[in-house]
């Protein structure tokens, strides 16, 4: 495998063939904010938080789906990038009803910590306050669309790790919602195996274990990586 040498924030880094900018940056200890990326699951470049600048390229590219090429010069933290990232997070907050103070994931939420690390001290856009439902019909889990950021992590773990294919997207734009099967109440889903991977994968409090009280929902994402490593590399590393 040919190694690629490239520059990231002024630092010379070696990446392996086929490695993404995000992956290589993480290996080198350079943090790039992400939301739809989940270790062990394929990337789709949906949230755009990992946008980086590449010298000679006019547009910004998502680090999670951009492969490293030789001699690439990447900037991860310019003033422009910081501005855009903050804007993206603000827009995510306006799109649904994220009320951290009374959320089951308060204190353990990726959206919340993104907002904090990106310095979102207030939101400059109008909130849309959409009317969103809670589907509590599953025996063990619930989904609260008020808190969903449509990252699709639940969909990907459901299809590609569990292989059940229960979770999916429906609708477009602001009407877009995560559904079970063909928009059945989750509790009636014939395909759901009740494995709970989607709940662990979800970055916010949108997917939760029933009965969880405020701030109580802590997700265990290590399990997902464990399964993937075991399956793909035949290594059972806890």
């Amino acid at each position: 495998m040919a190694a690629k040498v490239f520059t990231i924030d002024g630092q010379q880094i070696t990446a392996t063939e086929g490695q993404t900018v995000l992956d290589a940056a993480q290996d080198a200890g350079i943090a790039i904010p992400t939301l739809c990326h989940l270790d062990g699951v394929m990337d789709v470049g949906a949230c755009r938080l990992c946008l980086v600048e590449i010298a000679g390229l006019n547009k910004l590219v998502p680090a999670c789906v951009t492969k490293v090429t030789d001699g690439m010069v990447v900037t991860t933290n310019s003033e422009r990038l910081q501005r855009y990232r903050r804007m993206i997070v603000e827009l995510l907050f306006t799109e649904r009803n994220h009320i951290c103070a009374v959320c089951v994931s308060n204190g353990h939420c990726e959206l919340q910590s993104l907002a904090m690390t990106l310095g979102m001290d207030h939101v400059r856009y109008d909130y849309t306050f959409p009317k969103c439902a809670v589907d509590p019909t599953h025996r063990l889990f619930g989904i609260d669309h008020n808190r969903c950021v449509l990252c699709g992590r639940c969909v990907r773990v459901c299809w590609y790790i569990e292989g059940a294919g229960t979770k999916n997207f429906s609708g477009r734009g602001t009407q877009s919602r995560i559904v079970s099967d063909l928009n059945a109440p989750w509790g009636n889903s014939r395909t759901c195996t009740s494995c709970g991977k989607c709940v662990q994968a979800c970055p916010t409090g949108a997917l939760f274990s029933k009965g969880a009280a405020v701030a109580e929902m802590e997700k265990d994402r290590g399990k997902l990586e464990y399964i993937v490593t075991a399956r793909e590399k035949k290594q059972w590393i806890v």
């Binding site: 009374v102 439902a133 509590p136 009965g211 405020v214 109580e216």
Partner: protein, 474 residues
Amino acid sequence: MPKWIKIDPVTRIEGHAKITIRLDDNGNVADAHFHVTEFRGFEKFCEGRPFSEMPGITPRVCGICPVSHLLASAKACDAILAVNIPPTAAKLRRIMNLGQIVQSHALSFFHLSAPDLLLGWDAPIDKRNVFGLMAADADLARAGIRLRQFGQTVIEVLGGRRIHPAWAVPGGVREPLTAANRDLIRAGLPEAKATTLKGIEIFRSLLAKYETETQVFGNFPSLFMGLVAPDGSWEHYGGKLRFVDGSGNVIADQIDPERYAEYIGESVEPSSYLKSPYYRPMGYPAGMYRVGPLARLNICRRIGTPLADDELVKFKALGWGAVTSSFLYHYARLIEILGSLEHIEKLLAEPDILSERLRADAGINKLQGVGASEAPRGTLFHDYEVDDNGLVKRVNMIIATGQNNLAMNRTITQIARHYIQGPDIPEPLLNRVEAGIRAYDPCLSCSTHADGRLALQVTLRAANGEILDEVGRL
């Protein structure tokens, strides 16, 4: 020509409110109303939420007594799970509620009311606050602040934070008490008790001086309601409801809070967002009842701890069967602090208090749940109805300040009648009306005005709405 006196806003009560005093054609006080314009909306926006989130949401009703909402809410959720929570969890919840009573009562007495009581109602406005008290009696002011801190520490070490602890959950509590924290609470008890006893001594020494106030600050017979233990002792977390009349006769007893709606009606008046609850069998407004410290001491036989019980005997001697003056809410508050401190001490000595069995696990076993607890200001009810999946369909909350609403109006009327003799607004009236209201320690929204700045606006209106006179100061 009827006139209106409006006092707006009342300071040093927690929240914002307006007072209107209506005069009749002869310049005599016709009646008085306390308008609350802030409490709204919570019941509506809880609808559709999973019930298990309620103990996290409802404490946001109020930043002054979040613990009370937390506990009433957790109890309503326990009822939906249909479980008995582990004994240690119940004891820890009790300790937290006692801590809440201590901190809230200490704030009410030492920060908000002591300036009036010790410096006099008519002391200059910029002196009559906790800073003025500091200048006059630094030790007392400081001790009062530390007493409140003690109560807050109790809440903090149990819940992990002082305000909005999300620690009580459906079925129990989340975290155990550690030995170190038990010892920390214990260490603060002697000083807290000493301060409380000092406060009681001071209040008792002022009783003779404030005879008029005792007579006119809401001295009238009314019903009293609160929780009592099965043997009729003081309760704050468990127990059942008891109503006594103005002479102390028990008229309804050991009523399961679940049946509150059979006994308590709620009337809504256009002048206020507060609902005015009344004792249903007697109708509205004859069924006016008071809740809170005064009521709790009137309905109970004993507090169950030595120092507080000694004091309770002296307190009860101030009335015939029941103590009917709202001015004595202050005294009752101090006695309750004492009782709470002693009860905390007893609970900390329980052998299983450090147990880590704290949470009963269950699904939705009942579609309605009522939780009642004694908030510092009086009995608090949370009543939830859920669907099969546990989503909240209906919420009703009855808060303490609402239950005292009718009595507060009555108190203002009484004070106004005493001090208003002509067409003018006499200066002492305003301070006394405020102090009369403050005796109830009403909690009306989420803001505290502990700085004691007296921002008053008094409007004198003719019946046709014409402003005859206006007195304002900031």
